[in-house]
């Protein structure tokens, strides 16, 4: 056992009864600022992510309001460009990343029977660096010209192509806020990923070989490796951009022989793995929720692990499918089309394995399961539109159009966000000790799903009819009017759905049923301790003999380790 964790002079603190941890506001604030507890940090990550989600979501509402009718003058072009840039940047870096790291932080140590992450102080550092980076990004609105002139928020798109971001074309500081904020956030991501890797590799409890780790932990291990390999390219090209803008360097200065395409290569070498970094945690959550609510183990655990590792590897080699129209040779285009099609294979296999898990089971339609079912259906659509985009010649029509916007919203909302909802409802009882309300959750599910499809399905059609991305307005008579109007109407239902979600979170905390240790009758180690867990997680560190330790306990006549 790792000798660093055991300290002979350590005294077990008395477990605090649920309900009596609520101290005064100042005491809570102080605890939050100084905590190094992975559970508190995890909840802080998720709460911050959800807050930024609301802010970035409001921006999307304004985008859809502006685009509801042709020739709309509600939002002028400069404001619109800031809106879509901030919406995208915030959703990826201030919502997606922190929420997934929040889940990892809270659950990985619990699931492997450890007391905390390997480096708790580093963990806290990572959180505060991310949090500060978010404040910095939004501070750009106040930054240069000032409040009423709507400040200097970034307006170059979330992937900030050169040379639009060069000093010549991007005057003022908007691009600098984008660059610096993301550089900081990148440090936070890398630091958290180091923690996840070291924790999963070095702190597993006795008997938990890598082959007995929950799929959740496996997928986050893969995600963490992807982060440490793929985020440095973003930091590197951002450093180059800063050198260009402030020291007159020539990395992307096309007048001095620099290459605009080089930025795209570097950005997408980060950017494509990034979207897998975002979605793999969704797979992690689905791989925990679907088995429990089907009352069966995950179908094909070894293949699920192998498929995840393959997805990560292949995803490092597909980046130029974002650049099919940039003028690469037919050989280069063919290579990237092939690699992109290849990554569809392990992804498709996972969908089949989830269906195989449900087959022959006894499905319970609790809230986490409802959202996972939505995820399966919507991610299927997203994956198939992805296959269409992999076909390079068709991509020459579809890229940079509303078809792509529809595709990635199906992936990120229909896929990732739905699994996040599933995960929040699933582990809410563990973290807060109360059961989420099923009826409020059903309203959330139905309203949001209806709104989601009304908003994003028509965008596929607008793309087919030639509507490009990132335009603040369009003329009537291009065939886009109806689809944009429908798309904007869907927003109403999505907002209503989110309101029910927030209502559920609050209502259940105050009036929800007490959850107990294991309300869902689940099988991984986090359910073997109280809800919420004490600061030290487990009274005694557990020992496991199979992938489902709690199944073995509950079914001593039919334990997993006899069959694995």
């Amino acid at each position: 056992m790792n000798t660093d964790i055991v300290d002979e002079n350590f005294e077990m603190p008395k477990p605090q009864p649920i309900g009596q941890e609520r101290g005064s506001l100042t005491r809570i604030a102080q605890e939050m600022v100084f905590t190094v507890d992975h559970k508190v940090l995890g909840l802080m990550y998720i709460a911050s992510g959800l807050l930024f989600f609301v802010v970035a979501g409001v921006m999307a509402v304004f985008i859809r309001l502006q685009l509801a009718v042709p020739g709309n003058t509600m939002v002028p072009p400069d404001v619109f460009n800031r809106l879509f840039t901030m919406h995208g940047t915030a959703m990826v870096f201030l919502v997606g990343m922190p929420i997934i790291f929040g889940f990892a932080n809270y659950l990985v140590p619990l699931m492997i029977g450890a007391r905390d992450m390997a480096f708790p102080r580093l963990n806290a550092f990572g959180f505060w660096v991310f949090f500060f980076s978010g404040i910095l990004l939004y501070f750009s609105y106040l930054g240069a010209p000032g409040l009423y002139a709507a400040g200097s928020a970034p307006d170059v798109g979330w992937f900030a192509y050169a040379p639009l971001t060069g000093r010549a074309f991007s005057r003022g500081h908007s691009t600098d806020y984008w660059t610096l904020s993301l550089l900081l956030g990148g440090i936070g991501s890398m630091v958290t990923s180091v923690n996840i890797i070291v924790t999963a590799v070095c702190l597993r409890c006795k008997g938990m070989t890598l082959g007995r780790m929950p799929l959740f932990v496996w997928l986050f291990l893969v995600v963490a490796f992807l982060v440490i390999i793929a985020v440095p390219p973003l930091s590197a090209c951002q450093i180059m951009l800063i050198l260009d803008r402030y020291l007159g360097a020539r990395f992307f200065d096309t007048q001095a022989g620099g290459s605009a395409v080089l930025w795209q290569h570097f950005f997408w070498i980060f950017g494509h793995p990034e979207v897998y970094i975002l979605i793999l945690p969704g797979f992690a959550i689905a791989s925990e929720v679907i088995p429990v609510f089907s009352r069966k183990p995950i179908f094909g655990y070894p293949v699920m692990v192998a498929a995840s590792v393959m997805i990560a590897f292949i995803s490092l080699g597909v980046w130029a499918h974002h650049m099919f129209s940039v003028g690469m040779t037919s050989l280069e285009n063919t290579f990237f089309a092939i690699s992109t099609l290849l990554v569809a294979i392990p992804t498709g296999i996972k969908i089949f394995n989830w269906i195989g898990t449900m087959y022959g089971g006894k499905l319970r339609f609790e809230l986490p399961m409802l959202f996972c079912l939505g995820f399966l259906f919507q991610f299927l659509i997203a994956g198939l539109t992805g296959v269409m985009l992999a076909i390079a010649p068709w991509d020459w029509q579809l890229t940079d159009s509303y078809f792509v916007v529809a595709h990635f919203h199906y992936v990120l909302i229909g896929g990732l966000l739905y699994t996040i909802f599933a995960g929040i409802y699933y582990w809410y009882p563990k973290a807060l000790g109360k059961m989420p309300d099923w009826k409020l959750g059903l309203w959330h599910f139905v309203l949001f799903t209806v709104g989601f499809h009304i908003t994003f399905f028509p965008q596929h059609i607008a793309g087919f009819l030639g509507m490009p991305r990132r335009i603040y307005t369009y003329e009537a008579g291009r065939g886009w009017d109806l689809w944009n109007l429908i798309s904007s109407i869907g927003v109403i239902f999505q907002v209503a759905g989110i309101l029910f979600f927030v209502l559920n979170l609050i209502y259940s905390y105050i009036w929800g049923k007490d959850a107990g240790d294991d309300p869902w009758d689940a099988w991984s180690l986090e359910w073997a301790t109280s809800s919420p867990p004490p600061a030290y997680n487990f009274e005694t560190i557990p020992e496991v003999r199979s992938r489902r330790p709690l199944w073995d306990l509950k079914h001593p006549e039919d334990p997993d380790w006899k069959f694995e």
């Binding site: 440490i228 390219p233 020291l247 990395f251 020992e543």
Partner: protein, 202 residues
Amino acid sequence: MSSATATAVPTEWKLPSTRKVAVITLILTESSLFTIFLVAYLFYMGKNLTHPYPNEVLEFPVLATIALLSSSFTIVFSEMALHRGSKLWFHLWWAITILLGGYFLWFTGAEWHHLIYKENLTVATNVFGSTFYSLVGLHASHVIIGLFLLCLILILSLLGKVPKDHTEHIEMISWYWHFVDAIWVVVVTVVYIISIRVPNVT
């Protein structure tokens, strides 16, 4: 929660050291960062629109390279002394490592001074300038961090504040130092051997 029978659970449960895995992870992530700056350098070789070109201003840094690479050896000697229990030789070899690294840094500074003031090569001159200073500079910044860590250990150790069982901590710092050296091997090959021989084509 304890197992019913002891047979299925391995009696010896030894997982890798957290420190080692953390430093390996750090090295992986830094390698990824360096790779991008290397790729930028390789991409822009021969694509300058103005002088100076690499072959006109660069000279293979013999002494500096010998110094930095030797410091990898001296740090190994230092660790061997630590294992033997010889505090004196540990401190001596450690200090020599710092001096060798410091000489490397001084040499880099002198070279840059020459390039900027005598050869008019700055980060804004051409793509060679941009990629050269960023790549070599990234490496030099890592040498600075490494030297800072080495000095910290030396001072703390001389003050007697490094506990006996912290040999692994010291080993991890030496791993970082070896990584910095390995990067230099790649950088010096690409910049001072290869790019000097690539003609400029515009």
